[in-house]
């Protein structure tokens, strides 16, 4: 490959930006934010080149860069994108400049704040492109560190607790995953993710566990399950799947809203990505063995989080639970696609539909949830930190554009057709209902509840008589409109023309379904 190493350049761009910010001597927030925004937009431009050059008809890995790194440990520098990766790279590239543009009022060490935002982006890019577990893991953890400091240093009143909780939770999950993957390495001698998937398919991995790890005293199948659980834990915490979610509401609520945009928009997708890239391909048998309980957990996540959201009085906590609910749908689709079936074209289609739905849902939830937390950030800033469900009322009268655009985003979140959220949910259910009828039917309850609490939000915040306190509540400024209007426009665009995204992912999904077997 003599072509431009575009993925490496893309990953280095935010790191370079962070360095510029760290070393630059300027003061004040505005220049720092502009620099971060500049680098964010540069990364977006590079991503655009990547997407433009991506062959959507192929399921193969593209833009591959592969160099030996630590041969004795099977470690390579191996990055590439397929339909799944490029979708999430695109999402990260869109969300970071969005979040940076929404940020504001960072009085304390603004340069560090924006540098950490860019570092977080580098972690995301790396996670979504690395295909060797070793350096994939480095980026996975790299994204955790800036997030921790962003919460701890710039968060709400209970930020320390929240940050530590966030860190420990995800770190414990990561450690469990790391140990499990080390065992996998001992059994196979490689960290190469596509290769590991291949070994898992051929049964080589199971044989390796038997011959190389017999000293553990566990049978290959028992060991397989233990390792599966280890890796599963890492991702289940990140998504999160109930009951591994208790860190999330506090973290989302305490983090600065622009950071929450990235936590929910992009970082929660790392968990689902892990399920799709690592867990399901390497441990398909174990996943199928535990499918019943896992499906039950997915349904629990969808329904219980929607109910819990209904009981929240803090807008950020409510939206946090709503995020859990949306990601629960991703896992429902994913687990449904793992359901053993006859090998017929009909069932393959349902699985492809479910997984396409999962990918669309990831992208669309990223966009919509980020926009919603962005709007809450504006609310908080205008209301001096208030963000209770009952703190407002009648705002539509004084801020019609604000109410309109946030209203559209809320309707996108509840899956209104014509906006981006609908088609992903439809495809998930199209696949999941035939594959797992009862789980899917129960999960529709989540759709109803989502409508209830989101409309309640509109009712309490924007409708009713105007709360006298907010008589002078300013509508969106021109600058804010410039930031949010493109996001809302994108919601319409993807709602009307999902092909724009589907054309990137469909071949990859077909290939994945074929590989996962029946």
């Amino acid at each position: 490959m003599t072509t431009l190493p575009i993925i490496t350049l893309l990953t280095l761009t935010p790191i370079l930006g962070a360095l510029v910010l760290a070393l630059g001597g300027h003061r004040g927030e505005r220049p720092a934010r502009n620099i971060a925004l500049g680098f964010g937009l540069l990364a977006l431009l590079e991503t655009w080149l990547l997407v433009a050059g991506f062959d959507g008809k192929s399921a193969a890995l593209q833009f591959v860069e592969r160099h030996a790194w630590i041969p004795s440990l099977g470690v390579e520098y191996f990055v590439a994108v397929d339909g799944l990766s490029i979708l999430l790279v695109l999402l990260s590239a869109l969300l970071v400049p969005f979040a940076v543009a929404v940020s504001g009022g960072i009085g304390d060490r603004p340069r560090t704040f924006y540098a950490l935002m860019l570092l977080l982006q580098a972690g995301l890019f790396g996670t979504f492109t690395a295909l060797n577990f070793f350096h994939w893991f480095i980026f996975w953890e790299l994204s955790l560190v800036p997030a921790y400091f962003l919460i701890k240093l710039w968060g709400g009143p209970a930020r320390r607790t929240a940050a530590t909780q966030f860190f420990i939770y995800t770190f414990v999950g990561s450690v469990a995953m790391l140990l499990a993957m080390q065992a996998v390495f001992l059994a196979t001698g490689t960290f190469d993710l596509p290769k590991l998937a291949e070994l898992a398919r051929s049964g080589e991995l199971a044989r390796g566990l038997e011959t190389k790890l017999h000293w553990t005293g566990l049978s290959a199948s028992a060991l397989g399950t233990v390792l599966f659980v280890g890796v599963f834990l890492g991702f289940a915490v990140k998504v999160p799947l109930m009951p591994f979610h208790t860190w999330l509401p506090a973290t989302y609520a305490e983090a600065p809203s622009s950071v929450t945009m990235l936590l929910t928009g992009a970082m929660s997708k790392m968990g689902v990505y892990g399920f799709l890239r690592i867990l399901a391909p390497i441990f398909p048998g174990q996943l199928r063995d535990l499918l019943g309980p896992l499906m039950a957990l997915a349904v629990l996540t969808i329904v219980a989080s929607a109910f819990a959201a209904f009981a929240q009085k803090d807008l950020k906590r409510m939206l946090a639970y709503s995020s859990i609910n949306h990601l629960g749908l991703c896992l429902l689709g994913l687990f449904a696609a793992m359901q053993p079936t006859a090998n017929t074209a009909g069932w393959q289609t349902e699985k492809v539909a479910a997984l396409n739905g999962v990918l669309l849902q990831m992208f669309n939830h990223g966009l919509t949830a980020a926009a919603l937390f962005g709007f809450v950030a504006l609310l908080e800033r205008r209301a001096g930190g208030l963000r209770g469900l009952d703190d407002f009322g009648g705002l539509r009268k004084v801020a019609p554009v604000f109410a309109g655009l946030m209203g559209i985003s809320l309707f996108a979140s509840l899956g209104l057709p014509g906006l981006n959220g609908f088609i992903g949910e439809f495809l998930i259910f199209k696949g999941a209902f035939p594959l797992a009828p009862y789980a899917a039917a129960l999960s529709t309850l989540g759709l109803l509840l989502t409508a209830i609490f989101l409309l309640t939000l509109i009712q309490r915040v924007f409708a009713g008589p105007l709360n006298e306190r907010w008589k002078t509540f300013p509508d969106l400024t021109r600058g804010e409109l410039l930031v949010f209007a493109p996001a809302v426009a994108l919601m319409f665009l993807l709602g009307v023309a999902p092909q724009l995204v589907v054309r990137l992912i469909n071949p990859t999904v077909i290939e994945a379904v074929n590989r996962l077997g029946n």
């Binding site: 834990l233 289609t349 492809v352 209104l416």
Partner: protein, 701 residues
């Protein structure tokens, strides 16, 4: 002529474009916004007329015209999800009705909403509403229909809650959206199920569509839970959607509350658009609903499938239930709202016992006379300064003569006055089909009883509004508040006045249409049946009905006569200011006035359950899950301590590879234990719990 199918998308696209442009307009641009909305609707009406003409010539030997235009929307696996337009008599008839009635309602709104500061926004929402409904009508794909269906829902949400500063309006809007969404869950599952079974959601696709013979045969032969045919199960799920949207029992509760919207919105929701969508859906998927292994039905009547039987009973019960409640309402719009629920019941009954032609004809005639009644009510409300209580009106016959005449036409059509009012013929057809329905005669009797009630409550309303002596309390406090909230100019004139021409003209046109429509489905010339069935070339003038038809007609005339005379006698002789029925049956009247307490029942059961589970989930989150994690943390600490002790005491000093992991975990845990972060150790325990659970599962395998 057949080329119209390629331009059919224009019909919803025109109002949609108007809505989009209006959304970008500023508040003071009132006139351009109104002109744009009305213009787009008028154009859509013209295109609809062209489409209608195209369906008038049945293709020789092939029955009704059926033109489709399908296209790929996005890739899905090896194939693609395809959408499409469809033009057949069902669509064409509805298109003409919706665009015609819609245009008139739009024009009426110019007068009615004259004083509202948000007129621009109002027309934007109206145009969106119309666009969604028109898209629903031309859909040749159940998914596309569903998408438009939801957009109709959101447009109605915006319009019902148009006066969003009123808490009651905001609540009613939410209620409408949520209640219909409950039905939509079933609808949604029905769609994905149908998609799975047939592999397509296109209705008609040269033999490969989901409503065509191949797919239907497959669906009726397969069975699912309880031995039910798959076609029945899917039909019932789809019907859930129709129950929500068309306000059938038990999801009718949103419809009366939807009166919180401005009156033109009520007219649009109750006549031409939203509620019609559910009935239209049943008519559209009728081939599926009526699909049976063998053709059980008699020639020319609907087959007696389980799905249609359910439709019949739901319709019949709703028709009577809502008519009963309407008897005891005092708000002019609420009476009409319950009458809509009741009439929708008749439509469902008609679909169930008589098939699409019967149900759809009642839908069409009802659209005209209900739009007429609502706009008439709007004119009354507008003229009497936003008074809505019929007991405080009276004597308007002389003060608002045009409104009175038009309203009387609408009232007689709704009540079913014989011969020259379309409502008579369409209701008669429903009753006739119910009479010869073999499984049971009860739906017919319910329908007949409903007809008596309809005549009764409409006469009551007419008497109070137009005939009763004018009430003294012409300046009630409630009225003043209303006027203030709607920015009515104060003190101009305290006595009611006739509305401006922009409002009365639509009334007159609708009244004429209400009468003229009665020509199209009489037993002498059953044009509409022939049109829907593609039999126009065989249509003959002449008495074509059986003896049951004559009997039905007689009974239905008697029912109307009974209702009208009883009501007129009771009310015209009653004392002013009191309700005759209330005096005779006080307890029954109060129960009916309280809408038989269905809302209260839901509030006491569903809402409370919902709230309780929400609190429970939140509580579980804060305490149960955390405690589990806490417990596991202690367990982990214990393990860590044990591990360290074992290591240190040297029992396990053989340092083999197996210990590396244990030590790693133990060391990590003990480091945490030494630090400040004890309470977070509980998380570590979560892992242990999972391991334990996993091992238990493994043991089972």
């Amino acid at each position: 002529m057949k080329g119209i199918i390629n331009s059919l998308w224009l019909i919803p696209a025109l109002p949609l474009l108007a809505a989009g442009i209006i959304a970008l307009m500023k508040r003071p641009q009132r006139k351009p916004a109104a002109a744009l909305a009305i213009g787009s609707m008028a154009l859509a009406f013209l295109v609809s007329c062209v489409a209608f003409v195209a369906t008038l010539q049945p293709e020789a030997g092939k029955g009704a015209v059926q033109l489709t235009h399908n296209f790929a929307w996005f890739d899905l696996g090896g194939s693609a999800l395809r959408l499409g337009w469809l033009l057949d008599p069902l669509t064409a008839g509805m298109l003409v009705m919706v665009t015609f009635v819609g245009s008139l309602i739009f024009i009426f709104s110019v007068g009615y909403m004259d004083h509202d500061e948000n007129l621009t926004r109002f027309f934007g929402f109206l145009a969106l509403f119309a666009a969604a409904m028109l898209g629903l009508l031309i859909a040749n794909n159940l998914l596309f229909l569903f998408m438009c269906w939801e957009l109709v829902g959101v447009a109605s949400y915006l319009l019902i809650g148009f006066w969003f500063h009123k808490p009651s309006a905001a609540a009613a809007a939410k209620k409408a959206f949520i209640t219909t969404r409950i039905g939509d869950l079933g609808f949604f599952l029905g769609i994905v199920w149908l998609y799975h079974e047939t592999g397509t959601l296109l209705f008609y696709d040269n033999g490969a569509g989901c409503l065509e013979q191949g797919a239907l045969t497959k669906l009726v032969t397969q069975t699912t839970v309880g031995g039910m045919a798959v076609s029945t199960a899917i039909s019932l799920l789809l019907f859930c959607g129709a129950v929500g949207k068309s306000g059938q029992l038990p999801l009718h509760v949103w419809l009366p509350d939807a009166m919180e919207g401005p009156t033109p919105v009520s007219a649009l929701i109750h006549a031409a658009t939203m509620v019609a969508a559910g009935v239209f859906l049943v008519a559209r998927v009728f081939p599926l609903m009526g699909a049976a292994t063998a053709d059980l039905g008699l020639e020319g009547h609907s087959p007696h499938t389980t799905a249609l039987t359910v439709v019949t009973w739901v319709g019949a019960c709703t028709a009577v239930f809502a008519a009963l409640i309407a008897v005891a309402q005092n708000d002019i719009k609420r009476i009409l709202a319950f009458s809509t629920v009741s009439q929708l019941g008749y439509m469902m009954l008609g679909l169930g016992v008589g098939g699409p032609a019967v149900g759809m004809f009642h839908l069409l005639t009802h659209a005209f006379f209900k739009a007429l009644l609502f706009l008439g009510a709007g004119s009354v409300i507008h003229g009497s300064h936003h008074e809505q209580d019929i007991r405080r009106m009276g004597g308007l016959r002389k003060l608002m003569p045009i409104t009175f005449a038009a309203y009387a036409v609408g009232m007689m059509a709704l009540a079913g006055f014989p011969l020259v009012f379309s409502g008579f013929w369409s209701k008669d057809e429903v009753l006739h089909a119910a009479m010869i329905w073999s499984p049971s005669k009860l739906p017919f009797l319910l329908g007949l009883f409903g007809a008596v009630l309809t005549a009764f409550y409409m006469t009551r309303q007419m008497w109070f509004v137009f005939f009763a002596p004018r009430a003294e309390s012409a300046s009630s406090p409630g009225r003043a508040a209303h006027s203030a909230s709607h920015h009515e100019p104060q003190g101009a004139s305290s006595s009611p006045h006739e509305s401006p021409r922009v409002m009365t003209l639509p009334l007159v046109i609708l009244a004429v249409a209400t009468v003229l429509l009665s020509l199209f489905a009489t037993p002498v010339w059953p044009w509409f049946h022939a049109y829907l069935g593609g039999q126009l070339d065989h249509l003959q003038v002449g008495w074509s009905a059986d003896s049951a038809a004559g009997l039905t007609m007689l009974l239905s005339v008697l029912a109307v006569a009974l209702g009208v005379s009883a009501s007129w006698r009771l009310y015209s002789r009653g004392k002013a200011g009191t309700d005759a029925v209330e005096r005779l049956f006080p307890r029954l009247f109060r129960a009916l006035q309280g809408r038989l307490y269905v809302d209260e029942f839901y509030a006491a059961t569903v809402f409370r359950l919902n709230a309780a589970v929400a609190v429970l989930s939140d509580w579980a989150d804060r305490f149960v899950w955390s405690s589990v994690v806490e417990l596991a943390a202690w367990l982990a600490k214990g393990l860590a301590w044990l591990s360290r002790t074992l290591d240190e005491s040297g029992i396990n000093s053989g340092f083999d590879a197996g210990c590396v992991e244990t030590r790693g975990a133990g060391g990590f845990a003990s480091r945490l234990q030494n630090g400040q972060t004890q309470r977070y150790l509980r998380i570590l325990g979560a892992g242990v719990v999972v391991l334990v659970v996993a091992i238990v599962w493994m043991g089972n395998n």
